[in-house]
Symmetry: C2
Amino acid sequence: MIEAIPADVRSLQLFEGVADETVCNLLRAGYDQSFPPLVTLIQEGAPADFLHVVVEGMVELFAGTKDREATMAVVRPISTFILAASVRDAPYLMSARTLQRSRILMIPSVNLRAAMATDNRFARNVVLELAGCYRSMVRHTKNLKLRNTRERIASYMLRQSRLLGNVPGFILPVEKRILASYMGMTPENLSRALKSLAEDGCKIDGQRVIITDRPKLEALAGLSPLLDGPDPEASQAGVSLPLPATDARIA
Amino acid sequence: MIEAIPADVRSLQLFEGVADETVCNLLRAGYDQSFPPLVTLIQEGAPADFLHVVVEGMVELFAGTKDREATMAVVRPISTFILAASVRDAPYLMSARTLQRSRILMIPSVNLRAAMATDNRFARNVVLELAGCYRSMVRHTKNLKLRNTRERIASYMLRQSRLLGNVPGFILPVEKRILASYMGMTPENLSRALKSLAEDGCKIDGQRVIITDRPKLEALAGLSPLLDGPDPEASQAGVSLPLPATDARIA
DNA sequence: CGAACCCTTGACAGAAATCAACTAAGGTGG
DNA sequence: CCACCTTAGTTGATTTCTGTCAAGGGTTCG
């Protein structure tokens, strides 16, 4: 299995500069599995026995009470998730389910912590990764508190555009109902708000998004590098397309 | 100055089990200063040159756009803040100001990172601290997304009560307007909601809070260990009184 | 004593959730 | 291949919630 995931997983920021021995030990202890869509990988509240890495596919992190549910992030390759619970040996605070057929690498938390103890560079990489996750969550929270729905949507569209190289058009990477939940609104509200954004420089047709008036949209979003970040930083940066993916840009 | 902060700072989780030499180096490189109330310690967007530690007093972390502002957390002794920006050498995502006269220990980020490189135990402590901060922020976000205003307030009151040992009565640790901002609502709304909570088992008179019907209040809050956490975990766990403070409990 | 400032209260406007109905697309099984 | 079912998305009507504006009480501090 080490041979099966050579470049992709090895190129994780988490493993950058780390001794091959450390990485190999982690990978040997881990499991590499494929899951169909809509499989629950993690139940919030369960003990965090494994660090998860999305190698292929797409995973939703969500949380809920008995009658409500909220999407917290969508993780795309190659990224880790629930690192914090793993290193603390604490219960998961979020559940995870596959949105597509996904290939997941699972590394036992025990081995993760052992690797941190023996390999200082790896420990520091974990620090950087966690700090990125933290900052990503801070941004998300700031977004929720400081912007209203239309502003959140506008900023999301601009962020997507930037991730693809400031393209004027792209395809939404996830279903709208998930987007709505991620941004803290109902699907109905998202639908209406999307329609109304046409007046502010952003037209939506199905999954296709076209930014028709960037300055106007930026004015609405009140775009700020502190809220939206010039850098992706974290692996789980939210509901985003972190890579200039093959077919996401449409214009 | 090392002599001036022996037990308190040394007892930080961050320094637990760390070699005296590492700690001394960090403290020698740091500055220990007192600030009057309402001094801005950190401006969001500025480079993170120092890790900050609240030794005495109280510090508010907040974020804002030009016309809006939101309290993100209130930090009380003995706790660190903006650790994530420090280790990543990235701009602060939040501003910080003193709410009371406060004693702040500032450790240069450069030294922090150097200590991580030379002392593995310290690096792992940073991991744990950051993971705690992350989880704390996740909880805060879940709170915002999954509960409405009255539920958020009810759960806050129950959490405060628990931190003081499940006392039925206590004094609010911060001004209501800050509480309101922290919980994502306007002061007017908080005021009205607090009044209405009398029907649900929680009476408020000025700064004094008395839980009159705990089961009823818990039912309203939908209290769950995953949302509210049995453990404080992070140093900046929000707007809370993490210690059984001298005069906070009133009943 | 006056000036801020926090908090509260009321009236109102605006935003968002809810409920319900309908369309469209994709998958299943006959 | 088609009828059927499920589900995402949209739209409209309505209610509920929340923010805004305005005013007044109380406290602290110079």
